[in-house]
Amino acid sequence: MTASFDRRALATLPSRGELAQHDAAVWDLRRRRDAAAASVPDWEALRERAAGIKAFALDHLDELLTGFEERARAAGAHVHWATDATALCRIVTELLAARGARRVVKSKSMLTEECGLNPHLEARGVEVVDTDLGERIVQLAGEPPSHLIVPAIHKTRREIGALFHRTMGTPAGEDDPERLTRLARADLRRRFLSADAGITGANFAVAESGSIVIVTNEGNADLGASLPPLHVACLGIEKVIPALADLPVFLRLLARSATGQPISAYTSVITGPRPGGELHLVLVDNGRSELLANPAQRSALACIRCGACLNTCPVYRRAGGHAYGTVIPGPIGSVLGPTVGALGRELPHASSLCGSCSAVCPVKIDLHGQLLAWRGATVRKRPRGERALVAAAALALRSAALLGPARALLRLAWPLLARAGRANPAAGWLEARELPPLPRESFRAQWKRKRSAQRAEGERRRKPESAQRAEGERRRKPESAQRAEGERRQGREVVEK
């Protein structure tokens, strides 16, 4: 009954060292987020407001989208609509081909990853260079990103140094992060200056003004948007918010939630094309309208892609991003992912439902509630063995009368359960733990036995009730006190590892 996600987690972070490194690196982001939140006196009020603005935006999304389109066009931008990934790829390919653009620089856009834009363009002879350093690293390595904000968090400096040496001809053995960054800077700078087009995502789209907002620490999106003559910005339809004045609410939450910084280095509000340039905005659905129509799941569309839920998730930290097999890993990925394939359906179960994700989400998405809702929605697809066990347990618990015989069976089966074996439903438990001892009697049985003994006693002696009880209590020393007594006598047996 072990889930394949669990096996993938082991394969992604196989050694203790890798596990510790990943967990510590990601937890550090959570720690920084906590420190940043603590310095904002209206943090919880801000979250509440951000959630409210997003709820409003989603509830009026069609109006906001048409308003955005109108104002963006008035400012001189072209607006395209893409139903799905295929449409996005087609539109972008055509835009580039019409201008003979063959060299493209791209800043981070999870949407374009989701739609497989890079391989589509590369297959058509377009060179696409990811300019976000972390994205560039995984692009050169031919791997998917493993984290929303820090795509190469799973790679060591030595691995990156070796990668740069292999792909960019940088000096062998160079692994200093600053020097490696400078080497990438020089290489990517040439590409910015010679690119035919820049493709970006957008963090927000503002209906009031027809603007898009792009947030980076590196400044790569600004270079990619302003140097080449063509700028193509791809964004999911859920990114639209009503007004410019709403932006500070999100901006005060975004970078603090992501990395603990007060704000990102560069926040650009772009309205219309730059002088002498062209701006094309591609609004993408790709399943978002479907999520919107599902009241139990639509709040996931409020996501501002900060990554805080990843950083806090004890499962993500100990599994690694690649275990998920989705474009976006972690809790938000598990909530957006279940529509896609068997592994996707498993993801909502790859959680202990601790709720930490919901507690850090800057827009208050009830992430763990949604994971639970997905479990309900896909219960009929669960493995047959699990469904049988669930049905059997439900039957046994339907009546207290059945519990007696059920427990008798359990007592017989218990020593068998302690032995590992493929058919053993407790096999997963036993992989990491011992089976707890099964007490001779359940509480229910003990209580009943003691109560009937009390009654029998009372009838025999016909003493006042209070004396009876006192007598009974004196005879039965509470087991917990007995055990505590035993432990105090034996001394502590804690063995430290």
């Binding site: 939140a37 202990s352 930490s356 669930v390 439900a394 519990l403 089976l435 505590a484």
Partner: protein
């Protein structure tokens, strides 16, 4: 006060001592405690695997059995969270929500009692219950920013126990990795998370680890017995019942 004892199914089967300790603590606090042996399960494990039909049936049964109670108290934050927060989603409204309590919050918030004459001369680490903390509000989760602090009844009760030293844990409320079926279907991850909590306990020098949820404690204890390190687990009720008057 008249209390109905709500004994979670796994406490009934695996740790009856905890149920007895809960009963005695409540009596010591001046309550009259009744127990209905016909109760079975609140439905939480079924809800967690998405079996909402089975969960609903058990929930209806639970509400029927506890229908007339003035107060229902349980040594399990997760079961109480199910009744208070998940029953509405099964179409059962808010029945039972207002009168169902976790043991510690009942003692502190409802009865106003901190001192119970308990003594436990050891260093104890508190394993925060995820359900207790983030759903029942039994304290302020570490994720929260300024402006919404909640007192922690479990902690308050432990601090009032004579000679008990509460040792703080790094990452004070990280999940222990039990998560119900998760512990069986995801043994690698569940084991990694549990071992990390145990290590945090030993790093803090704890002799015992306690909490409001037997499930979490059983999971940690079972890892301790496999790995050979870590403090013993003991439920809050078992600590509170220790000491002077028995």
């Amino acid at each position: 006060m008249n209390i109905e004892l709500f004994v979670p199914c796994y406490v009934d089967q695996l740790t009856p001592d905890v149920a007895w300790a809960t009963l005695r603590v409540l009596e010591r606090a001046g309550c009259r405690v009744s127990y209905d042996p016909a109760q079975t399960c609140c439905g939480q494990p079924f809800l967690n695997v998405g079996a909402s039909r089975e969960a609903r049936r058990l929930a209806e049964r639970h509400l029927r059995r506890f229908g007339g109670a003035e107060a229902v108290v349980s040594p399990s934050a997760s079961c109480v969270a199910t009744v208070r927060h998940r029953y509405a989603g099964l179409g059962l409204g808010a029945q039972g929500a207002a009168r169902t309590w976790e043991l510690g919050e009942f003692l502190v918030k409802k009865l106003g009692k901190l001192e119970l004459g308990a003594r436990f001369p050891y260093r104890v680490a508190l394993l925060q219950s995820c359900h207790g903390l983030r759903e029942l509000g039994l304290g302020t989760p570490s994720e929260r920013g300024p402006g919404a602090a909640e007192p922690n009844p479990t902690e308050l009760l432990l601090r009032a126990v004579e000679d008990l030293e509460l040792v703080p844990l790094a990452r004070p409320d990280e999940c222990c990795g039990f998560g119900g079926a998760f512990s069986v279907t995801h043994p690698t991850l569940s084991g990694r998370m549990g071992r990390a909590r145990l290590r945090a306990c030993t790093d803090a020098g704890a002799d015992y680890v306690t909490g409001t949820d037997v499930s979490c404690l059983l999971h940690l204890d079972a890892i301790r017995r496999r790995e050979g390190f870590g403090p013993r687990a003991i439920h809050l009720a078992e600590i509170l019942v220790n000491g002077s008057s028995t």
